[in-house]
Symmetry: C2
Subunit: 215 residues, 2 copies
Amino acid sequence: MATAPTDRTRVRRVPHRGAYERETIEAILDETLISHVGFVHDGQPVVIPTLHARLGDRLYLHGSAASRMLRTLQKGVPVCVTATLVDGLVLARSAFHHSVNYRSVVVFGTATLLEPGEETVKVLELFTERLVPGRWADVRPPNRQELKGTKVLSLPLDEASAKVRTGPPIDDDEDYDLPVWAGVLPLATQVAEAQPDPRLDPAIETPGYVARWRP
Amino acid sequence: MATAPTDRTRVRRVPHRGAYERETIEAILDETLISHVGFVHDGQPVVIPTLHARLGDRLYLHGSAASRMLRTLQKGVPVCVTATLVDGLVLARSAFHHSVNYRSVVVFGTATLLEPGEETVKVLELFTERLVPGRWADVRPPNRQELKGTKVLSLPLDEASAKVRTGPPIDDDEDYDLPVWAGVLPLATQVAEAQPDPRLDPAIETPGYVARWRP
């Protein structure tokens, strides 16, 4: 399914890199660990890194009930959420054509505060499970006081677009003969060995979902 | 050197995570590959991922002269540039205290267009060299037409702040007795083997600065 680009989501610079298929957009949102949320506060743009989670055609943000960002967003002001994966450095024969392989999603919309209740807990489970599948069943679930101190907001993915660059450098025709190495340095997120909490009871073994965790 | 926090840069949520020392701010900006630039366009916040480079107490952005972002920023409108490193997933005994180890910088200000000239080339060299040290000397430098098609903007680091979380999870006292694994999954950027351009002359060897490249 493709979402028709709106005037706001149409990719203008290098339009062939624009992608509007819902599957592409969802895959990027699901793979990025964090996103950057933009909103306007007293006329000033503010960009804050935050965790996100996606379920169906909605994007969820959460945090402390005291968060200035969430208190601003719940007023229904315009918001922009951008999630970016850097897949590689692209080394061309000319300085000018150096580039980055990346996949990004930009979502425009307004956020809505979830009424506290069953759905909130389900979304908090989603935040945990999408980052560390298998974790939720192990941990102490949120109590009433913690739920009271937590806000969950959602925004629809109606106005979302992706931008993707892949592949080798594209050089000017006359530069291909230059004696210069060209190619891609592929980048990805890597996990190192899990570090147990210094206060962890040594009798507690590392669960498989931690030992086998991959980005 | 520390920059006194302004009303805009003071970290409000979890204030002990705020850092205002110039060295901390510069180190995070220098280590992040990309940043997210926020500006207001027709009342709508827009957040765009972009490369950045730092020299002294200025942050540089660059791109096509046709870029809507750069054309907007050069008008001197308020901008927010945020750069974030995700260092680990923090698994607490309670769902509520799960967190992320991260280092982020938020810069507020207004950008200024660099007059085309010698300084522009120096900054473009910086963009290349900070990502791939040793690369600039190898490549075809920008020609007059490419320089004409490129814009470089800078903004001062006067209003910048960092926010940093490190270390193990912090659980509620009564949760430390729960039989739940807790700790950190450390994350970092990893490089895979360089992929030569399919059109690369096989006689051209991989340079050391590519083979030994590390994030």
